[in-house]
Each structure stands twice: as C-alpha cells, then as structure tokens.
Amino acid sequence: MTFPYKGYAGHYLDVDLTKGKIHKREMEKEWARLYLGGAGVAAKILWDSTGPDTEPLSPDNVVVVGTGPLTGSMFSPSGRMMFAAKGPLTGVWAESHVGGFFGPEMKYAGFDFVVIHGRSPKPVYLFLRDGHAELLDASDLWGRETDVTTQMIREEHKDPAVETAVIGTAGENLVSYASVIVDVYRAAGRCGIGAVLGSKNVKGIACRGSLGLEVHDMDKYLEANAEEMAKLSDPLWTASLASLRKYGTTDLIAIINEIGRLPTKNHWTGFYEQADDIGPEIIAEKYRTTQEACHGCAIGCKYIYKVKEGTFAGGPAGGPEYETLMAFGSNCLNNDVESIFHMGTRCDLIGMDTISCGKTIGFAMELWEKGILTEKDTDGLDLSWGNVDSMVKLVEMIGKREGIGDMLSKGVRKAAEIIGGDAWKYAVHVKGLEASGQDPRAHQSIGLTYATNVRGADHLRSISCIEELGYPEIASARFGAEKADEVLDIMSPKHKGEIIKDMEDLYALVDSAVICKYSTMWPPIYYYDTFVNVISPLTGMTEWSDMKYVKQAAERISHLRRAYNHRLGITRKQENLPQRLLKEPMPTGPAKGGLPDLDEMLDEYYDFRGCDRETGFPKREKLQELGLDYVADDLAKRKMLARGK
C-alpha cells in the first residue's frame, strides 16, 4: 500500500554506512498517524533500534534526521528540522533542532527522514536530489571547518542553493557536545549529535529538490493557516513580536536579568551587574547589520552582526543568541561582547555547542577560583573570571581536544569525575547536559523542566513562560480561573507539575510537526487547537482534527521518549537538579533567597503524567491507553513499570 498522506514527502532513507548501501523506503503510515513526524517518529525509530547496550559513538548508534508535516508547508514558523540519537554527552535520549532552509529542502528533495546506521570505512557525505540519494567521498572535506565545507559542497555541485547540514572539526574529533551546522550559522547545537556523525565518518548531508509537496485540501489548509497567522496579529502580541524582530533573542538578556534568572558566574547567581554590556541595546545599535528569517517564517528573529575593527573584527555572520551571550558572557563574568561574537562564530565554524562549551569554561573558571585547578592543570592558562584571552584559547583547545581542552571536551559531568574531590559541586548539569540559560531559584517550574527534560538540563522540552512573563488570560484559559493566581506566581510550586506536563506534551507536538518554539513557547499563542486546525487539511489524517486524539498523540510521544530513558536506567533519582540549583539559595539579585521545591512539583508531575511517584516509571494502563502496549511489555520485563494500579 502506498503512503496515503499529503504534506509529507512520502519517503525516507535507510542508510547503512558499513556496507555503503542506501535504501529508499516508503514512509510508514503508522509513523505519521501515531507519532506525526520529527521527534515522535525519531523516538519510535530509536526505541526499535537502540537501547542500553548501544555505545553512543559506536557503529551501533543510529542518527535520525527528521522533518515533520509542517516543515516547508508555509506554516509560520516552520523552517525547522531535527536530529536524534543516543547521546554521547549524556548517554540518554538526545534530540536537537535547527532552523534555516535544510529541512524544507530535504522534503522538496523527496525525503521526510534519513536514518543513518553503521560506520563508513572512509569519510563520506550524503547527497539527496529529487528522490535520489548517494554517498559521496568526503576525504577532501575532512578537517575543514563548516563554512569551507559548505562552500566546497556547493562548488562540487555547481549550485549555490544546495542546502547543507555538516559537522566541523569538533565533530570529527568527537567532542562530546559537537553540533551540526546548517546554512553556515544555524546550529543543531545540543547533545553532541555532531560527534555521533563524526564517529560514523559522516561529514554531513546536502540536498536540493524540486519535487515539491502536495496538500490534501489546499483551500482548507490555507484557510486554517490564515486563521492561525491571524492570531499573531493580535495586539496582545505586537510588542513581543516586534521585539523578536528588532533584537532577536538578545532581548532576553535584559528581560531575564530583571527577574534575576540570568546564569552568572557558573550559575552562582542569577543577576549580572554588567548585563547591559552584553545586552540587546548595544548589540542593536553598534553591531547588528540586518535581520534574517528561516524558511517561510513571519517572525524573523535571526540577526547578522559585524564587528568592524579591533581584535575581534569579524562578520558579517549570524549573531549570537541569548544562550550564547549568557554562556560566554554573564556565566564567565565576561562583559566584552565583541569576544562573545568571536567565540560564538568560532563555535559555529568548529561545530560545537555554545551552551555546553561556555558552561564548561565557566565550570573550569570556578575550579580555578577555588584552587581545584591550577596552572599546572591548565597548560599555563590563567582561568580567572572574565579572562577573555584564556577563554578564546580554550574554545580552540576544546575543539582540538588539546591539553586541558581534552578533559573539557567531555562536558562538566565527566570532567568533574576526572578531577575528583569537590569538583562535582560546581558541575551544573542534569543527566550530563550542561544547564542552559535559566535558573530554578528564580523560576520554580524551570526546576521541574530541567529535572524531567528527557535530554537533560535544558528549557526546550517544557519551559513555561506563562508565569515568567505573566499572561493572566492564558493561565485562566488553560488551567482554570480558580488556579490562575497560583499558576502565575513564579515562585510558587503549586500547579507547576500540571503546567509542565501540559507544556511537555504541547512541545512534543511542536517538535514532531516540526515547527519553531517561537509563537508556542513565547509568545504563548499556538496551543493544541492549532494542530487540530492545520494537520488534518494538510495531511488528510482525519483523526488529527479531533482534540482528544491530538492530545493523546502528544502524550504518546512524551511517554515514548521517557520510556526510552527508563530503559537506559533513568528513574526519579536522575530526574533531579544539581546541588547548586537545589540547595544553595540564590545569593544576590531580584530573586535573592529563592530555592525550588522540586519534590513537591515532581510528585504532582508524576501524578499528571500517569507515573509512579517513587520511581517515575509509567503505569501500564497509561501506556495501554496511548497504544504503547509494546513499550509496557518491554518495560515490564525489565521491572520498569509502576507497581500496582
């Protein structure tokens, strides 16, 4: 039977690198119907093909390159795609998303997914064009940075519009947090997917397509699309969207510092006195040259910077986002914004996650301050806070895994194990993933988000900005007027379990559709009804026009990803926070004294999720209700189901 749904390209590629064979296969109907696409389908593929015995950097690991039905389908903001694998940094579920133009182009070239197995005997890259795919020699590309790699691939195909997703030297060198770079300055940064590709001798993927996408009911889809787009024009969101267009995510430096949640000095505090130096105004005035947007996006948050002169003269290139400004800025007490532009761009060229890299450098700086690391450990580098020269050198050393860079390339958890003693106290991570730019001591529910996020300490699987920025109408509409006051109290743990469960499910759809978090996460415009509205006319999957079905699909994806981690040994014990964020009250700033009530929130979260409070394991009837019987059977064999009813 042929794949019946529209909005998808309709095929995926199964690549066996070890044998050098590529199989083009028709999309599985059930993948679309039950898991939608993107993260959902990736979870199904990785559940079936990897597990506790899979070494992340061995040929056994599998990389899923995915898009969703909304990718390239004119829905704003939908120019996204995702990568998933078992993660080399964390050893658990790894997922990383990126914007730009690659995702849509891959679909126009005829493929919704690429599933990569094995290890190639020599460096290769995958080229897709109009339903055909081939593995091409990448010997000349090996050892090149991402911009040169992209340029060489485009020259080889004599086509400047070939889209690329490539790794840099950090991926080749198996840096645990190596990224995949799309379109020169967009990164699937987190979790080290670049290292997994590097371990497989895959330099990247390139594609170009003219097959296009058909729509089930174009008139109805465009109408639904216009209804959703009209929501963006509501005066309530004008200021937020205008800010995204003018400042991009850099505006968050100012907004977040104001509530005392800006990670500063390796997460010691949440308030940075010199935040203005790395903040939105100076960047907009002095360095920002132009605005850009991903494919088909009406928001357009990307900006281009140029530093005209001085040590760090550079650009035009994609400007650092909030997280990069935080990681190399406030987190390291570095207020030299030009140096942050430089390090951000170097990370893009080397192919390395700016968050994990900056956070690992901040960790090393704190160990230096405490005397745990000294000159003999650091190859003579002075790691005092804000020492820009040393930071710039460390970025290069980490990328090459030279000297102390080798240890730091493994991330803070491994580095702390290697150093021993008290070093672990300063390693701010969950499940091995360095914390992103939030702090639960100033925003309770972030604690729960960090603890339960399947990929580790990161906001993008369930952050709630409803209480962060205060949207009373949204709080009432989603959770009931009677709960609204407590929902909106950023330092109250009340109802946060319910909210985070709800956000996690919503984002499961976002990550499977595949669309951007902007306009779902913040501003909180799109909700479940958006998916009910657009998926069915686009694809022809009539069940997706039913709210109950859509919410169940969302829960199914959330549970499957969680179950993937349970099988790797994750329980409530690992759904925890690092000591600093759990036990050390916020020392300074507007959120002074704050601490998260994690246990209370976790109990509520597990209740709403249908899991056991003690272990975090799911209940059999919950999994059965979601059609995940095969997961229940597998977990039962491993004694990983909730006991009792």
């Binding site: 004119m74 340029q151 300055y185 850009e292 088909g296 281009i304 035009p316």
Partner: protein
Amino acid sequence: MKKALVINNNLCTGCRNCELACSIRHTNTFNPARARIQILKDDFRATVIPMVCLQCDSPLCADACPTGAISENSVGVLTVNHDLCIGCSNCVTACIYGGISIDPILRKAIKCDLCGGEPACIEACTYQAISLQSTDSQGLRGRSDSVRVLRTAYGLSEVDV
C-alpha cells in the same frame, strides 16, 4: 502603464515565503523550485538576492527565443506561450537578471506574470518587502534604491547604506 515587482532588499529577510505563495498560485503545491520569484541566499556575505522578472522594455529573453513564445500581453506583462515554448533555455541564458527559468516538471520556461494584477507574493510577504510599481522613472528609481545594499555587499559601490 507597465508595472513590475520591486523587492526592497532592506526589508527582505530571505524567508522565501514569496516563493511558496507563488508556487501555490501557479502549481497548487509547495515547490519553491517552480516559483517565478527566486530568493538566492549568500550565506558568506550574509545577504539575500531576490530575483524576479523586471518586465524589460527591450526583453533579452524574447529576443533569444527561437519560437517567438515570449511576448507582451495586452497589459504590458511579458508572457510565455507554452504552446510555442520548446524548453530550450535560450531565454534563461539570455536574461541577465535571473528573471526566467525552466519549470522542472513542465520543462517549459516560466516567469512572473504578476498574477493578473494581484501578485500572491506581495500578500504573502509579512515584511512588506514586495510592491508592484510602475516602470516609469520614479518606479525605476525606487527599484534601484531598493537593491543598493547589494551593490555595497558585492563591492560594486563603496557607499555604505
């Protein structure tokens, strides 16, 4: 009065929504490769280059066409007659503005037909970068101004915008 699309490079973000809108209008699919407006990105100069037919007074494409398939219609829009077009690409080679291309499915020349007066791309552009302008001296000046940033990016002019 003849009209043509003018794309303001200072407003264009390179999102390519115009291509999608154009492909829906003309093919009822999402397929930028079949769009009659093309946004080329130059990642290395961090710039975008919009390309669309300028509805030239002395069209190089029409001159190059061996079958006389390209001509002005009653409202001054250069149009390709697909009954005559043999898909030889001479027009694509001749046009120095990238304003005409070969449809990958039909294998015939395609170009902007201004959607009969209400271009889909204008409506789809959320950045208001595209407008329909008369090809009189004022309109042409507007078009020239709107691409000045490209002349600087490619070193053809030293004036910083």
